[in-house]
Symmetry: C2
Subunit: 512 residues, 2 copies
């Protein structure tokens, strides 16, 4: 099918197989999702892109609340001295902090505006909020009765990125960060895994991503964490995208922020904390995982519109009847529900040609396109096209049947996208049992293009950071995770690099 399509007209140029990074940028532009701003590394999220984020937010927020969490809001600014409290943490973020040093502007001698009124202590624009939230928790927690604290924050954060890429890596991004404090290590570990599970379910059943979950190695851990759990998606150039993380912070941040409680035994103890987050990076992951050479392909659950109805009105005398039929069908479809919400339907009444309308919605990834022309009215039917199929593949469906079947069709598109991502991931996650094969797997094949490489390599590794570092230097390949799924990697073996013992295989890949 991909070969057939290659001979046809495609909406996106270059195609995936030609230049994946440029294809990605072209899909973002064609779907009108976001663009770079003049402010270095900061993007503008346009309405269609933001609407996807709103759906992700609503669906995740419900899951957070269902698991006992509340939302709150903490300051944007972090005093320098807070960041310093956790040594690893500050080391991890110092190189990418936006620093506020003044709180006023004045006109200088050259007639130009300049910063004035220096702050006594510089403030960091939050790159993440463990330290500033820890300060509040240290005041809120006195006794074991004050625990657990289960909060989440929806916010913007800033990490000065040297090589920004829309959605995947931007200086400012939108995210949620959960921050919890617990009485015992076990509770905090359970929370870390619970939220990993919430993300896993979200990614699998809402975003149609067959992610691999597991722990990070020490070198890839969140700065200051004891354990970082992650969810790694495979996108269509077979690279990994870290789509979310859940951190078990042990007592590190509780000690740094002095979060102490009087235990049931009357002893002062440090709390055990966790943090977990996903960001607008999920949108970049979605795009790279599902989209095709005609543009964005959206899983229905996060599509701002499920169905677009395009009136085909070649003649003025039948136009009113066609528009009326479209509106009536839209109303009937809106009365149907998909995952507990009314189906989102738009009738595209813009004064442009039908063909150009259809392409606009193809590029924007709307799951179902429905065209109604004068001839369809007599038959009470419509031409229906699914975004998960080639753009020329269309079926004539009677209105009544379409109304009745719409939820099922959307569900089928949703599961088709997941099945495709899963098949692709399985096909390209390969056990590697010797170093030569491993190096070949990650070396560009039959082309000068570095994006053509193997995928995810499942290999035994002795646990030595030097081995890990050598591979990173040689191949720009890192250990994405130590997978927790026994079906993927349970049996012990021998490190293919050092020959030492290995408890289980780990996932190596190139990544965004």
């Amino acid at each position: 099918m991909a070969q057939q399509q290659a001979q046809e007209r495609n909406a996106i140029s270059p195609r995936r197989a030609e230049n994946f990074p440029e294809w990605y940028q072209a899909v973002v532009t064609a779907a009108d999702l976001a663009e770079n701003s003049d402010v270095r590394g900061c993007m503008v999220i346009k309405p269609w892109g933001y609407a996807i984020w709103e759906l992700i937010q609503q669906q995740l927020d419900k899951k957070f609340k269902d698991t006992g969490h509340s939302n709150a809001y903490f300051p944007l600014f972090i005093p320098l001295s807070y960041l310093e409290k956790e040594a690893e943490h500050v080391a991890g973020f110092a190189k990418e902090c936006a620093v506020v040093t003044h709180h006023r502007l004045e006109v200088g001698p050259d007639g130009k505006l300049r910063a004035a009124s220096p702050l006594t202590e510089p403030l960091i624009v939050r790159p993440t909020s463990e330290t500033i939230i820890g300060e509040s928790y240290s005041r809120w927690v006195q006794s074991y009765r004050d625990l657990p604290i289960l909060l989440n924050q929806w916010a913007n954060v800033v990490r000065w990125e040297m090589r920004p890429r829309l959605f995947l890596r931007t200086a400012e991004f939108l995210w949620q960060e959960g921050h919890t404090a617990h009485e015992t290590e076990q509770e905090a570990r359970e929370e870390t895994e619970r939220m990993l599970g919430v993300y896993h379910e979200m990614m699998r059943y809402h975003l149609a991503l067959d992610v691999v979950t597991g722990r990070k190695t020490a070198s890839e851990r969140f700065a200051g964490a004891v354990d970082t759990y992650c969810l790694e998606a495979m996108v269509q150039d077979r690279k990994a995208v870290q789509a979310g993380t859940s951190h078990f912070l042990g007592q590190n941040f509780a000690k740094a922020s002095n979060i102490q409680y009087l235990s049931r035994e009357g002893v002062k103890q440090h709390a055990w904390t966790t943090s977990w987050g996903v960001s607008t990076r999920l949108i970049g992951t979605l795009i790279m995982a599902h989209s095709d050479d005609d543009g964005l392909v959206l899983p229905p659950r996060v599509a701002p519109k499920h169905i677009v109805i395009i009136p085909v009105t070649p003649k003025e005398d039948t136009k009113a009847a066609v528009l009326e039929a479209c509106d009536k069908l839209a109303e009937r479809l809106r009365a149907q529900s998909f995952h507990g919400e009314a189906i989102r339907v738009q009738v595209d009444t813009r004064e442009v040609t039908g063909g150009s309308k259809a392409w606009d919605w193809i590029k924007k990834g709307v799951p179902l396109r429905v065209e109604i022309g004068p001839r369809d009215i007599a038959g009470s039917a419509a031409m229906v096209a699914r975004r998960d199929r080639p753009h020329k593949s269309r079926d004539l469906i009677a209105w009544d049947q379409l109304v009745a079947d719409a939820p099922t069709i959307l569900e089928d598109i949703q599961s088709t996208l997941l099945a495709r991502n899963q098949a692709f991931r399985k096909e390209n996650m390969v056990p590697m049992d010797d170093k030569d094969s491993f190096y070949k797997f990650f070396t560009p094949r039959n082309s000068g293009r570095p994006e053509i490489h193997g995928g995810f390599a499942l290999a035994h590794w002795c646990g030595c950071p030097d081995v890990e570092e050598q591979i990173r230097k040689d191949l720009s390949v890192t250990i994405r995770c130590i997978p927790d799924d026994p079906a993927i990697a349970a049996e012990p073996g021998m490190c293919i690099f050092s020959g030492k013992e290995s408890a289980q295989r780990v996932v190596f890949a190139k990544s965004y």
Copy 2:
């Protein structure tokens, strides 16, 4: 009633009549809404406060979408040079800008962290986004076909405040800012007034605030606007709170940002723009308008919980039956709806005494409290207390009746709060026909406490800024608005300060 209560125990100290500003702070603390952080002027919004904000957001967001707007997101940072483009605008905000000057931290010779890597151009943390959004619009708009642009952004903004007060005036606050661009002046003016209308409806029917709407005088206008429309609430110390604004920006910002379009006649023209916003300040307004000496009083539409059910379990052997009855009643109440949403019910199963539970929910402003004890089970009834009535006023209501009547009772509380705010506003908005009375009206009476003053004075004013400035200096009283409601101030007259002609009365008041 107020006198009776004064003899009784109250949850909040001091009472409103004793010290209004301290009472406000005490209500915020008692309801666990928010607190000051260590970061100067920045607050922490705690779960109960944030839940109110989420309800305001959801309800406003729906109104924005119903009026054709979409959400988008623009950068947090504004280059200094953008801000400079509109002279009045920069003059208005220069004194309260947080300035980012560096993008890295390093360890200095003293072993302490310090800012490193200076930016070539300093960045301002947005105090409002006209200039940064204008930059995008200038690229998006080419022809009249690209107009109107109707966008809104939910975001945090920073204005360095010298005298911060929780919710009402904080260095960082959460808000929404609408930004629209139009082909004609008339369309932009209509949009400005439409959004004023959306806010008016929100404040009146959701927040139970009988606000006065109108235009600002030149001295109180948004920096760079042609006309600023505002909504002024009267709170219980008879001061005004500006609860929202809608600005007609003319072509000022379009010229500054170069937003130009090719008109239907083929001529290059500058667009006409508007902006409008409300913020977390609405929560402060709510508190000051409705709360009483027992704590927060919430209009049901923005109450995180509509009903709390308190099990009264004096004996172990009847405890299970009571808890079961509470859960069953909660389920039945949740199946009822209030303004299209399921009634929000919480059963308070904490292990503390019933009395202390009741007081917690009184202080948090929950509209209905329902107590069920062992004796109520036989009668299938419950003691029900409304938060808009004195805390001792309770009625025994049969479960069936309570379930059936709950929506009506909540609606009655909602309209009672609006009626009270309206009666209070009417009582304390007084026509003033001479300067002496006006000065007396705003001078503390029978007490050394400056918060005891008249309220809103409706007086004729000639339009002269010097007169306005003199009054501000003498009394700390400003013109809150030139009201647009003919029922309030339509007829022409004579300025009570200068004796010159006046087209209509304006509203003078002290304000937050």
